[in-house]
C-alpha cells in the first residue's frame, strides 16, 4: 500500500491544492494529554492557579483602553509565548469560579442576599457593554494591577494568586464559610508579615476575585420551576403561579429555596478576544478554511457562508 502511494506521489507529484493542515502534531485525547503536550503535566492545582494569575497580569497589560498607546503589536508578539498559559489561565479562572459557585451554598441572610443580587445585576449589565464604558475597563484594569501586587514585601505570590489558592482549596473540600473567615483572619492577623494585604474575611476575598470579572449571577427560582424571580417578579415572595414560597427559614435568616446559577456568556466571549493567545485561537477558523471544497469543519457549510455574507 505504502509503495503504491509512494509511486503515485513520485509519478504525479503533490496535488496543487495540498496544504499542510495546522492541526495538532498528534491526536490528543484527554485534557491531561493536551496539557502534557502544551507544557509541564506534573503541575499541582496550586501551580495552575498561580499561572492563571500570571495570565491576569498579561491580561492587565493588554486591557485595551488603558494601555492602548503603550501596547503595540510588538508587545503582543512578545507575549505570544505565553499563549498556552493564557488558555489554561482562562480556564483556571473559570474553574475557580465554578468551584466557588458550587460550594457557596451556605446561606447569607436575606437582606444581604437582596443587596448582593442588586449589585450583581447592575454589575452585569455594565459588563455586557464593558468595552463601551471606558471607566469600567479602566477600573477593572486598575483593580487587576492592585491585586497583582505581591502579598507582602518579598512575597512569592500576588494578592490575587494567594486569595484564589486559598478559596480554591477551601471550596474543593467544602468547608463552611465561617471556617474560611477564620482562616483568612488568622493568616492576615497572626501568621503573615504585618504589611500583608490578604483580605481578612471571606466577603473581602470574594469581592476581590469577583472584581476581576467573569462573574456569575444567582437567580432565585420557584421550587416547581414556574418562574425565575427576576425582572417583574424580582420583589415577590411567593410564586405568582403556584404560590409556593421563595424563601425558607434557616435559623434567623431567610434563604432562597432554589437558586439557578447563570454564568454570562458575553463577557467571557469578549474576554477571549482580549487575550492574545485566545484571540489567535478564536480567529483560527478564518485562517484555516479548506480551499478544495471539501467540508472538514462547520465553517465550510452553506449556513456559515450565508451568515458571513449577511453580516
Amino acid at each position: 500500500m505504502l509503495a503504491i502511494v509512494c509511486g503515485h506521489l513520485i509519478l504525479n507529484g503533490r496535488h496543487p491544492l495540498f496544504r499542510v493542515w495546522k492541526g495538532p502534531s498528534h491526536l490528543v485525547d484527554s485534557d491531561e494529554e493536551w496539557a502534557a503536550t502544551n507544557g509541564n503535566s506534573t503541575q499541582t492545582p496550586m501551580q495552575l492557579v498561580d499561572e492563571g494569575v500570571h495570565v491576569g497580569q498579561v491580561l492587565e497589560d493588554l486591557f485595551p483602553s488603558v494601555n492602548v498607546e503603550q501596547v503595540g503589536m510588538e508587545k503582543a508578539s512578545l507575549n505570544l509565548n505565553l499563549r498556552e498559559d493564557g488558555v489554561r489561565g482562562l480556564g483556571m479562572v473559570h474553574e475557580v469560579c465554578e468551584t466557588m459557585e458550587e460550594l457557596s451554598i451556605v446561606p447569607n441572610n436575606m437582606v444581604e442576599h437582596g443587596d448582593l443580587n442588586a449589585k450583581e445585576d447592575t454589575g452585569n449589565n455594565d459588563e455586557w457593554f464593558i468595552v463601551d464604558d471606558h471607566d469600567d475597563v479602566a477600573n477593572e484594569a486598575q483593580h487587576l494591577r492592585e491585586t497583582c501586587q505581591p502579598l507582602y514585601k518579598g512575597a512569592k505570590f500576588s494578592i490575587l494568586a494567594t486569595t484564589l489558592m486559598l478559596i480554591n482549596v477551601c471550596m474543593v473540600h467544602g468547608v463552611s464559610n465561617k471556617f474560611v473567615d477564620e482562616l483568612l483572619a488568622l493568616l492576615h492577623k497572626h501568621l503573615l508579615p504585618l504589611d500583608n494585604c490578604l483580605p481578612p474575611t471571606m466577603y473581602g476575598a470574594k469581592t476581590l476575585t469577583h472584581k476581576v470579572g467573569l462573574n456569575y449571577t444567582n437567580i432565585h427560582a420557584c421550587v416547581n420551576g414556574c418562574v425565575l424571580f427576576r425582572k417583574q417578579y424580582k420583589t415577590l415572595i411567593t410564586c405568582p403561579k403556584c404560590e409556593s414560597t421563595r424563601f425558607k427559614e434557616h435559623g434567623q435568616s431567610h434563604v432562597a429555596i432554589k437558586m439557578v446559577r447563570h454564568f454570562p456568556l458575553v463577557p467571557r466571549l469578549l474576554r477571549m478576544y482580549q487575550g492574545v493567545g485566545t484571540s489567535e485561537l478564536m480567529t483560527w477558523h478564518s485562517q484555516n478554511r479548506s480551499i478544495d471544497g471539501k467540508v472538514r469543519h462547520v465553517l465550510n457549510s452553506k449556513g456559515w457562508e450565508h451568515i458571513d455574507a449577511t453580516f
Binding site: G23, P24, D31, W34, L62, P64, V68, G72, M73, A76, V87, R88, L90, G91, M92, H94, E95, E101, E102, W128, F129, V131, D132, T217, A221, N224, G225, C226, V227, L228, R230, K258, M259, V260, R261, H262, F263, P264, L265, V266, R268, L269, L270, M272, Y273, Q274, V276, S279, E280, L281, M282, T283, W284, H285, N288, H297, L299, G303, I307, F311
Partner: protein
C-alpha cells in the same frame, strides 16, 4: 444540556442540570477542552427540568443569545490599533441535549 450528579453518588435521586456551550470558532482539537467550555447555567434539583418549565430556566441564556445575535461591541487584540473594535456576533448552531420530560 444534560442532567448530572455533581457528587457522584449513584443512588442519589437529586438531579442537577447544566447547560454547556461549545465555541466552534476554536480549532477543532480545542473545542471540547475543559478550559474552553462555556458553562452557562447550573439548575439545581431536586427534580428534573420538565418540558413545562424548560423555557423558564433557559430564559437568561436566551436573552444573552439574542444580545449576541444583535451584536456586542468587542476588541480584538490581534488586529492593528485602528481595526481593533469589532462587533461580535454569535449564533447558536445546534443543541445536543437530553429531552426534558
Amino acid at each position: 444540556m444534560d442532567r448530572m450528579n455533581p457528587f457522584g453518588e449513584k443512588s442519589n435521586t437529586w438531579s442537577t442540570w447544566h447547560v454547556l456551550g461549545l465555541n466552534y470558532n476554536l480549532p477543532p482539537w480545542l473545542v471540547t477542552k475543559k478550559f474552553l467550555l462555556l458553562l452557562s447555567l447550573i439548575i439545581p434539583g431536586p427534580y428534573c427540568v420538565k418540558s413545562s418549565n424548560f423555557d423558564v430556566y433557559i430564559a437568561p441564556m436566551l436573552e444573552e443569545l439574542a444580545e449576541l445575535w444583535k451584536g456586542v461591541r468587542g476588541v480584538d487584540l490581534l488586529q492593528p490599533l485602528e481595526k481593533r473594535q469589532f462587533i461580535m456576533r454569535a449564533i447558536l448552531i445546534w443543541t445536543i441535549h437530553d429531552f426534558p420530560r
